[in-house]
Symmetry: C2
Subunit: 208 residues, 2 copies
């Protein structure tokens, strides 16, 4: 569904408000019938011979994905990754509000990034006392990941968007964890490259 949303937004910028399942499929790398099947399973928005109304389809997917729920988020650690999350407006674009950022470094504490104030991580509990916090983006160094995630759970965090290379909250089924493990992604790439290289090599002939 997020992929559909992305492709539809791309399409909308340069086209009219109508898209066929085959055009949508072409952009997604799927067949037209896969697209129809996917979208039918969400209640069938299309019309035979007309295609899909892009704005209706987007609104429907937004609702399914909870984009209108306006969850609130904090960012923990404003190194390169934390900073990228704030500056690139990922949260706002996807219906989240960033209510605060935290770091340990005196170089950052007290400053702002794009209007988001950075607080000392020692004061993390204060924000939970005064605001609803649904999600924490965890962008701290590996060595701090376990400790900070445990503190977040104690304070009642509902979900962690985990950018550290650590496994967090493995035994906390009540907390939703969505991982962005860069290393796993790179190793998957490495594996696929190795496989490709292997299949490109001339095969040894076996004598019968």
């Amino acid at each position: 569904m997020p992929k559909y949303l992305r492709v539809l937004s791309e399409y909308e910028q340069v086209n009219d408000d109508r898209i066929s399942s085959s055009e949508l499929g072409r952009r997604l790398g799927y067949t037209a019938s896969q697209v129809r099947q996917d979208l039918n399973s969400f209640g069938g928005f299309g019309q035979q011979g007309y295609g899909y109304c892009v704005s209706d389809l987007k609104a429907e997917i937004d609702t399914i994905l909870g984009k209108e729920k306006h969850f609130s988020a904090i960012v923990i650690g404003v190194g390169n990754i934390g900073r990228a999350l704030i500056e690139n407006s990922f949260f706002e674009e996807n219906g989240f509000n960033i209510v605060a950022a935290f770091d340990v470094s005196p170089d950052y504490v007290g400053k702002e990034i794009d209007g988001v104030k950075i607080y000392d991580i020692a004061t993390l509990n204060y924000i939970f006392a005064v605001k609803r916090v649904d999600v924490a983006a965890l962008c701290v160094p590996y060595s701090a990941a376990k400790d900070v995630s445990e503190r977040l759970v104690d304070m009642g965090i509902k979900a962690i968007w985990n950018f550290t290379n650590a496994e967090v909250c493995v035994h906390q089924p009540a907390v939703i964890v969505e991982n962005v493990h860069f290393s796993d992604s790179l190793l998957t790439l490495s594996y696929r490259l190795g496989e490709r290289q292997h299949s490109d090599m001339p095969q040894k002939q076996t004598s019968a």
Copy 2:
């Protein structure tokens, strides 16, 4: 497999060179029998009653994942994300060498990040003329993603590690694309949060 590797590296730092399938499972959030099944499918490294030798298991997974192949990489775009990839040593730790970085901004061109030189993206073709380049980490703005990825394909890139929110090389089956779509990940989180919230709400009673 990347997940196993991560958990084994964590374990190794504070424990001995031996791990049971149940301990490994506990750390992964899997059952012991799932672990045995996973590892058996790669040739069975374990020994009944002893468990697994951590260093052997890691070496075996490294080989499977191609970590010893020393693929070479370039980073395109040294904003927050590109910079994070270079500074956090993701490439080196996973057996890749970064041979160069590229950007359009005169503020960056000619400088270095952690020993990696930043070149003008207009000179992208030069690097392909003098060095083997296997992977490009694509960290450019959304608007530049299609154009840059097409240039990379023309120059013979084998794989793209795509951090942009665009779909690239959809119709280039020869190019391996590994996507890190932050927005997709956040929308998945949003969807799971919405679902959880829904199931936590008191159910309306229906009168029979």
